[in-house]
Amino acid sequence: MELLVASAIGILTAGGIYLTLRLRTFPVILGISLLTYAVNVFLFASGRLTVGAPPILTDATTYTDPLPQALVLTAIVISFGMTAVVLMIALGSFLGSNDDSVNDPIPLGDDSEEDAT
């Protein structure tokens, strides 16, 4: 169980970091989504992994920590909304300039007005 969750977080993070280092907006956004999935599972696991126990204090002796579940809900909502925002901005940028590279354009030379220094 621990191995499974830990390796899932690790693989998601590795894939996310690889994709965010690409130079096009679409892979970068996919990478950010993968990273947010990884962090959601990570937050969920930060209250220790307990199987089949209720998240509230009952008469039972074992229960799972409810706080990380509340935290992860907040995190899911926020990351979901943010991904939608970045997708819209990236789409606007791509449709406007017909170019989806993340970097600033390379300046053409000293005489160009729009150089990026």
Binding site: T20, T25, V28, I29, I32, L35, T36, A38, V39, F42, L43, A45, S46, G47, R48, D65, L67, P68, L71, T74, A75, I78, S79, G81, M82, T83, V85, V86, I89, A90, G92, S93, G96, S97, V102, D104, E113, E114, D115, A116, T117
Partner: protein, 517 residues
């Protein structure tokens, strides 16, 4: 219970939807509501600052749940000074946005502006780390909208970079919070301070990783080299009033570093020794150098100002990195100075842009209203580079005085003084090309006379410059106050007692339950 302290968060949160719902199509009504909202914010912030000036810590328990279970807002000297600073800067920036017509060049500027203020105020006031994350997201999502206000391809591209980078920062923040929660089982700052102190010296791996992750997140916000590379392009492409308001956003990072690394991981804590103490100072010194080189090398005025912000943040981080009472005193003085100086310079750059064909540092015919704009640029540049007589000079003097006894004294003196010189050269070159050499350029035959920036724009920029002058004239009382803030930060017992000992809903009930059983 005093409800005043939640007003800086609630007021903008009420005004913003009201602007959208009631005044969507009337820019003049939006302007009036927005200015009224910011004026009310200033009044509330001034009241809160006055209330906490005698060292009182004000606590607000949301829904009356006691810490560490409920979320708390805490107003001490540091947080109330920061919200007052934010509110004052916000007023002048808003006046400029109205005077220059920036707010009418896209939709919903005023609503987003209020949401942005709500996020910043909340981040300064909260006493809970997860709540700090939530307010960071509130201020960021509003800043995404403001950043791409009025559109344009370059701005959208810079917006994608800015949003992407901040999303990565948020993810890192969540990783840090998860590891802190896994190690300590709490996210309330005062409770964390207690629990971190109890961690056994042999089991520090998790908490050390968490402390460094958290520092990285705040360093991204504070644009500390090598995590600064989002800043120049975003700030240069953002609409000028937005960039000027962003001058306070880098300070949110600096504030969070001061708060967390004096309260939760204080400098004398053994389990995190050798982490931030050893690495922050070199990074800050590199930022100072990098900012100065960027100022000298910039080929456009807006990039030059953005690099001067990086250098200025480096100057803020140098004293913070020492974590002593005198150095935090100097850092707080410099934070106020740097916020106003950066805000003024972004607005002045926009004044130049409005009458000129681009901001490239090349001789072009003089801009309309050049004499007054040049005077303001000259004053703000003196402040930013740290020449006497303005507050930049006093701030740098305080910083150098604070590092005098430290082991890094020689390095700090050499780098700060050399980079100040480079910065002076850079600003002098930019000013002389933009304002002086312009007079030798012939006007194009068919050039229509441009209207100078409006009087309200000059009032706004003049107001910020006047704040810099006040910050210089009243340097004595202000440093005494920042020294009182530092004193409170290094004696956090009153803060922790206030947060943890105040009873809330059901606190009494559970006690009587125990007694009954």
């Amino acid at each position: 219970m005093m409800h005043w302290i939640i007003l800086p968060v609630v007021l903008p949160a009420m005004f913003a939807p009201f602007i959208i719902l009631a005044a969507r199509h009337h820019i003049s009504i939006q302007r009036v509501i927005s200015v009224v909202a910011v004026l009310a914010l200033i009044a509330v912030a001034a009241g809160l600052a006055w209330q906490s000036s005698d060292g009182t810590v004000t606590l607000y328990q949301l829904s009356d749940w006691a810490a560490p279970f409920g979320i708390v807002l805490v107003g001490d000297r540091l947080s109330t000074m920061m919200i007052l600073l934010t509110a004052v800067l916000a007023l002048f920036v808003l006046l400029y946005a109205i005077g220059s017509g920036w707010d009418g060049r896209g939709r919903h500027f005023h609503a987003l502006y209020q949401f942005q203020l709500m996020g910043i105020m909340g981040a300064f006031l909260t006493g809970d780390l997860f709540n700090l994350f939530v307010f960071f997201e509130v201020l960021l999502i509003a800043s995404y909208g403001l950043m791409i206000h009025s559109g344009g391809n370059d701005r959208l591209r810079a917006g994608v970079q800015y949003v992407g980078f901040n999303l990565l920062g948020s993810t890192l923040f969540l990783f840090a919070l998860g590891s802190i929660y896994a190690e300590t089982g709490t996210l309330n700052m005062a409770d964390l301070a207690n629990r971190v102190a109890l961690i056994d010296a042999s089991e520090t791996v998790g908490i050390r990783v968490a402390a460094v992750l958290l520092l990285l997140v705040f360093a991204i916000k504070a644009a500390l080299v090598p995590l600064h590379f989002w800043l120049p392009s975003s700030y240069a492409e953002a609409p000028a009033p937005v960039a000027a308001l962003f001058a306070i956003m880098t300070k949110v990072g600096a504030y969070a570093i001061i708060r967390v690394y004096t309260l939760i991981f204080p400098p004398d804590l053994e389990i995190t020794s050798g982490l931030h103490g050893d690495w922050l100072l070199p990074a800050a010194l590199v930022s100072v150098t990098f900012g100065a080189i960027g100022v000298l090398g910039a080929r456009k005025l807006d990039r030059l100002v953005a690099f001067s912000v990086i250098g200025s943040m480096g100057m803020v981080m140098v004293p913070i990195a020492l974590f002593t009472q005198t150095s935090i005193t100097a850092a707080l003085y410099y934070i106020v100075h740097s916020t106003f100086a950066a805000g003024a310079l972004f607005l002045i750059a926009d004044m130049v842009r409005s009458g000129r064909d681009g901001l490239a540092l090349k001789p072009k015919p003089p801009v309309a209203g050049a004499a007054l704009t040049a005077g303001l640029f000259f004053t703000a540049a003196i402040a930013m580079t740290g020449l006497p007589p303005l507050s930049g000079f006093l701030g740098k003097l305080l910083v150098l005085d604070a590092v005098f006894d430290s082991t890094a004294m020689a390095w700090t003196f050499a780098i700060v003084l050399a980079s100040s010189l480079i910065g002076v050269v850079g600003f002098a070159r930019a000013g002389s090309v933009v304002f002086w050499k312009a007079h030798s350029m012939p006007l194009a035959e068919d050039a229509e006379p441009q209207a100078p920036p409006s009087a309200l724009s000059y009032v706004a920029v003049g107001g910020i410059v006047f704040m810099l002058v006040l910050h210089t004239v009243f340097a004595g009382p202000i440093t005494r106050y920042t020294s009182a803030i530092a004193e409170q930060l290094f004696a956090p017992d009153a803060y922790m007692e206030m947060v943890l000992e105040t009873p809330g809903k059901l606190s009494g009930a559970s006690k009587s339950d125990k007694e009954a059983h």
